[in-house]
Point group: D2
Chain length 255, copies 4
């Protein structure tokens, strides 16, 4: 029975690519996303075509009980050794007036409460087995709040503190929590692509992506995600940042 890498938020960017990396390294990749079953199936098929093992799961993370059921179901496949929590709550710039109570709450439910629910159900299993890894994708909104980011920043700021409390309570029991601060635009068709629309996205890719490396390339990011999961317990990283060489760090530049 293979060890499982569970990916919550497995789109065509970071999530799917990290899942595929772990599958290549011998894990079963359990890939979850909210919609686009077809795309999900393609990702599973692609991994299997490479000789890897994967499964696809549709997940509405904010539905009561959904994360809990998912973990129970995936654990039947094998023990979840690594989980990538990759749900975002970026909805683009939105003024206070244009951010409804519902939107604000939804951001928190996805980006913060979702991680808490996951931890509640998965941490005890990992502790029982002597260890496990939580890889949590994060954003600069976790450390600075810009105008128009009320929902996103409040959710991510809470998430970052939650990563710290989990780490403080469970590192000694073998749970490695890593908070990965993505500080730049990721070359991902279904997040950046959607936000910009096909034309702008293509333009941006041509200007900054590809060989110019101006965008964060998920395949390269996956190397660091995998490295974190492989770190020996005598030398764990809790927080690191990732950005393209050509981008300024968040503390050096405006959004």
């Amino acid at each position: 029975m293979k060890k499982v890498c569970l990916v919550i938020g497995a789109g065509a960017g970071i999530g799917g690519t990290v899942g595929r990396k772990f599958a290549r390294e011998g894990y079963h990749a359990a890939l979850c996303r909210r919609s686009d079953e077809e795309g999900l199936n393609r990702m599973v098929a692609q991994i299997e075509a490479e000789g890897g093992s994967a499964s696809g799961h549709l997940l509405n993370a904010v539905r009561e009980g959904a994360i809990e059921e998912l973990v129970a179901q995936v654990e039947k496949t094998g023990p979840i050794d690594v989980v990538l929590f990759n749900l975002g709550a970026q909805i683009g710039g939105r003024s206070l007036e244009d951010t409804s109570l519902k939107t604000f709450e939804l951001g928190w439910q996805m980006a913060c409460f979702g991680l808490f629910r996951l931890a509640k159900v998965l941490v005890p299993l990992m502790v029982q087995r002597g260890g496990g890894t939580f890889l949590v994708t994060s954003a600069t909104a976790a450390v600075r709040g810009n105008a128009g980011q009320h929902s996103h920043a409040a959710a991510m700021g809470g998430r970052r503190m939650l990563c710290q409390t989990l780490n403080a309570e469970y590192a000694q029991k073998g749970i490695h929590v890593a908070h990965i601060l993505i500080d730049g635009a990721v070359d991902a068709p279904d997040t950046l692509g959607k936000m910009l629309g096909p034309e702008l996205y293509e333009k941006l890719r041509n200007t900054r992506g590809g060989e110019h490396d101006g965008l964060l390339l998920p395949e390269k990011m996956a190397e660091t995600y995998y490295h974190l999961a492989r770190q020996h317990r005598s030398a764990w990283t809790h927080e690191l940042d990732l950005r393209a060489y050509s981008d300024l760090a968040w503390w050096n530049h405006a959004p």
Copy 2:
């Protein structure tokens, strides 16, 4: 018609004392708390006995519409010029296992969502009037997550980022948002007192409180809250910390 200082979370510690300070300086203090109507009435009476103006309001901040109605009601008394958001979500150390989904959500509703709801309804009024001040009491849990603080830290971390997004969007329109990081135990009978129980609280006061100043004294803290509200707009503070001289800063010591 007097300018109003609205205090959300007006217990016998920071909230009530800051309200009284603003009343002494000529504001009408609108004091809100969840329960203990008698205590609330005493606080109002005490302010009035000093020649000040005050009103008491019971508020269940997590009830839908409650904050919105409160603001509408208080605005009839006079324009809210300063608001102190003083709701906490500290529930003492509680392991992941002992922190229910309900508890985690409640912490967020009080400490983070409550501020967002307040901002949604109050910021537009302040902008229309050309300015106003948000004083937000915060805690070290907003910047570091300790074991057993899952609910508290996630809520306060989100709140801190929300203060930043509000400041980024509205400072230029005259809204001064100040995030006040209380880094130590406050000499307050109905928070610290409740948490410790009467005997331990009395013992702590005798050891560290009073003339030894080992606890943060609300009357002295109120001076800084008031100073923040008085800062000229050419020199505003967004974040500061407060602790007793005899306490180590959070970055120097364990909880």
Copy 3:
């Protein structure tokens, strides 16, 4: 014998203005600057014309023994109760290539080593007397390093940590160390004015200064400096930021 407020770096901006504020509040202001004896004398005369007490001292802070001699000399006037360390090391944007070893060292000697030397000689006197206040003007370069700021950021980053170590060691002995992060342009003829040249400075003042409050006004900043020195020891601030309402915080904007 009046209590003394010693100002190290008393130009026509923050330093001189804070000195004057303390003089108005009953302190003897001992004003030190490197050059421009005439300007220094004018500042002293102005304070005396207002009925205050002041003295002027030329100080080459990097000369061996200079700070030590100054403290000894000023202590003859009265006990130094408050010191404002206001020496900067901003030399404008300078690439790595254009930053000589000498420049880098000089920045450190002024902004970091100078404070250490001051603390070495003054802290023991204050401890003996039961207390005292260190007000340290700082800059965003203490918390983020931008391109072209090698000398300035390295000096200020060291200084910030030094403020923390002094606070950790001496707060309990009554020494209040406050690190004041000035996050914006100050309306000061002899720093900003010099950096920009007279024409650009006048233009900036017309656009952002004066009634538009787009620059930090030293007179208004001085209120907060004074407040810090007056904080009761049960509620001390170690770090705060100051910026004009119309400016974005450093974490929200590029330099």
Copy 4:
């Protein structure tokens, strides 16, 4: 001609171990330390016995011209592609009174000025060649100042800001600067061992080291150092922390 990994501060802990790791991966390891030529020769011999390439260099980093000469000399062996700046300035807890001006200056010369001098001479060579990597070992003293750490914290705080200014100016030109925050005790005989003395060190190793992993093991840390140097330029890390799973993070605990 092999690419060179230059290690400044190559003791038996992090420095030597990282050098050896890079040698195993095909680099020539140029190992520098202040003294113990015999130990240095043993390290070189050990690498060569494994089939690697290495050279040993005695370096008094604070001597004028020493770092500059070293770089010139090593560049004759091959192009320096990676440099590990591993000089520390930890001198143990020392009160303000017991920290002499000389000590304070020396700490800065080693930990901060040394990096600046290295950057001055090496960055232009790297830029000319299209890239290179600066790995900078750091400590929690770079982000918090504890009592008794005046010299160490001021030096490391400056160094951290310098890493940021270098990154801001040169990442776009292919220079990867990584600031590696070592947040715990390293199992290293010639730093920790010296600080504690042989008996206490052995005791600590028996309690926390070895299979208990309570100390940071240099061999495991070296994996992450190497990973940083291998990161693709589309996904670079500027800052990360490293600690043993059994240790609390600095923000959760006292020193």
